[in-house]
Symmetry: C2
Subunit: 304 residues, 2 copies
């Protein structure tokens, strides 16, 4: 089944302890699309400027991402620059130029309105709601957000969440959104806002999936090399929802495996800058790391 | 098989967001002993003062802990006071009174020198070495330490580590001890100091066991109620080593299960102040939470 993503396509300038890169292809919708494309057909809704060339489209085309919803308008593409600290968790934003993204109004091609899985990447919650008004009875609507929107547009975000089944959120954002410190109780508070499933992204500490009374926890993969954390959360969401889209109608067991697949894609994402690692993955590499997660986490019964 | 622990027995005065307690029975050796006692016979080497009464000994006696190595000397028992922040991870030490602990010289009863499993709790590394000089060919020597000793007695700590098979350490201490940020590489750096197995305690983020090329990761249990984190690390070590002591000679699969048992005991430890939850546990409760960890972490094959 197909999956539709609305979010940013950007050029990132990134410094990490391992190196740096200038005007790298990035953005939430970019990382999501490429990761999801290994599991399901992806439909991209985003905007780029005149500086976005054929060589940049190639990264999407080689992964079969449908670009019928990619607007190309006069002006420059969204640009972000940041520098990561030695701990690779904290980062400073050095520059943000919204450019053509400032006037972005997501428009879904008519034929895409019935896409069964929809991902609202981390953009203005009013734009997220605007997308939800255009879709027709999707099976799964998932959303991401960030502290900036939690603080600046709480009412808009609440309206969006009312139409969302699955929320991706990191632990500090979850606590900020709900005002509740305990993660289990914060998950219940989110449920009362709409989403049935809360996927708590904890970076190097893994992921916690709260699905009603069911909880699933997975540690992150202990990597020897982390070059660039940019896009890890979006690659995670891409693997997660791409896998779910391939399993519809999805049950509780599928959500658990989706969290592992998302973690697999995030673990590859951070091993290199931009899309360098993920775009070249093979199904065998993905399966291999999934199995490495099984070896990492398995343990036997208490007796025996 | 028996397990010997050398560490502190103390009275703790603790404030947490859930409440507070005054002169609660605590100390690393206390929490370790009680947790380990559910799995193996425990021998305690520690020191207390004249203010340590029969009612306090009762907590050990009811768990069958052998007190032949508990010295009772003139003066007051070690006292610690601290206050936890709202996040339950950070804490401020408000008061430390070493009292009789200042002159502690651990002496092993002659019959205990051949104990197969030895735990050197978080005390002065010179005292830890002094204990190692008294034991005879133990199968497993495990140690805990902290930033204070890493900073103030690095050479003594290195000498201790040369005789240790298994090191319990949290992630920031591991990075401080080795000067290496990446946990996998830091684990290898510790191996070069002596310990074959490094157990990285990550608090609310679980545990990572590095055993040569083998890695095992387990998330923490998502608890709804955390009353007092004091003693969680020692209860973890107690469950871990107690279980191992019951499985000698222990293989790689036993180390994985030991990490789960340790996490089970730590999860109970934090649910109440002092020993209130752990001392009253039943084998059925322990097994029940072990199975809850299995439900929390299990996932199926990618296909199927």
């Amino acid at each position: 089944m197909s999956i539709l993503v609305v979010g940013s396509v950007a050029f990132d300038t990134v410094e990490t302890p391992s190196g740096s890169g200038r005007d790298l292809l990035g953005g939430s919708a970019t990382h999501f699309s490429v990761a999801a494309s290994f599991f399901a057909p992806v439909r991209l809704v985003a905007v780029v400027g005149e500086d976005f060339g054929e060589e940049h489209l190639q990264a999407f085309r080689e992964r079969g991402v449908d670009l019928a919803g990619l607007q190309r308008v006069p002006g420059r593409t969204f640009r972000w620059a940041g520098r990561y600290h030695a701990n690779l968790n904290d980062r400073d934003t050095l520059d943000t130029q919204l450019n053509v993204f400032a006037d972005f109004e997501p428009q879904l091609p008519e034929a895409w309105r019935a896409t069964p899985v929809v991902f609202l990447a981390n953009i203005d919650p009013d734009l997220q709601s605007h997308v939800l008004e255009q879709v027709r009875s999707p099976e799964i609507v998932a959303a991401d957000t960030m502290n900036f929107w939690i603080e600046s547009k709480p009412d808009s975000l609440r309206r969006t969440l009312g139409g969302v089944h699955l929320l991706f959120v990191n632990d500090s954002e979850l606590r900020q959104l709900t005002g509740v410190w305990n993660l289990v109780e914060a998950g219940e508070a989110v449920r009362r806002m709409g989403p049935r499933v809360v996927v708590v992204k904890r970076g190097e500490h893994g992921v916690l999936v709260l699905d009603g009374d069911d909880a699933f926890a997975l540690p992150a993969f202990p990597l020897r090399k982390v070059e660039d954390p940019t896009g890890a959360g979006d690659a995670f969401a891409g693997g997660f929802l791409g896998y779910l889209a391939s399993r519809l109608p999805a049950g509780a067991r599928d959500y658990r495996k989706a969290a592992v697949v998302g973690s697999v894609m995030a673990s590859f994402q951070v091993e290199a800058f931009s899309l360098e690692r993920v775009r070249r993955l093979t199904p065998a590499e993905i399966r291999g790391r999934y199995e490495a997660f099984q070896r990492l986490t398995r343990f036997g019964d208490l007796e025996g």
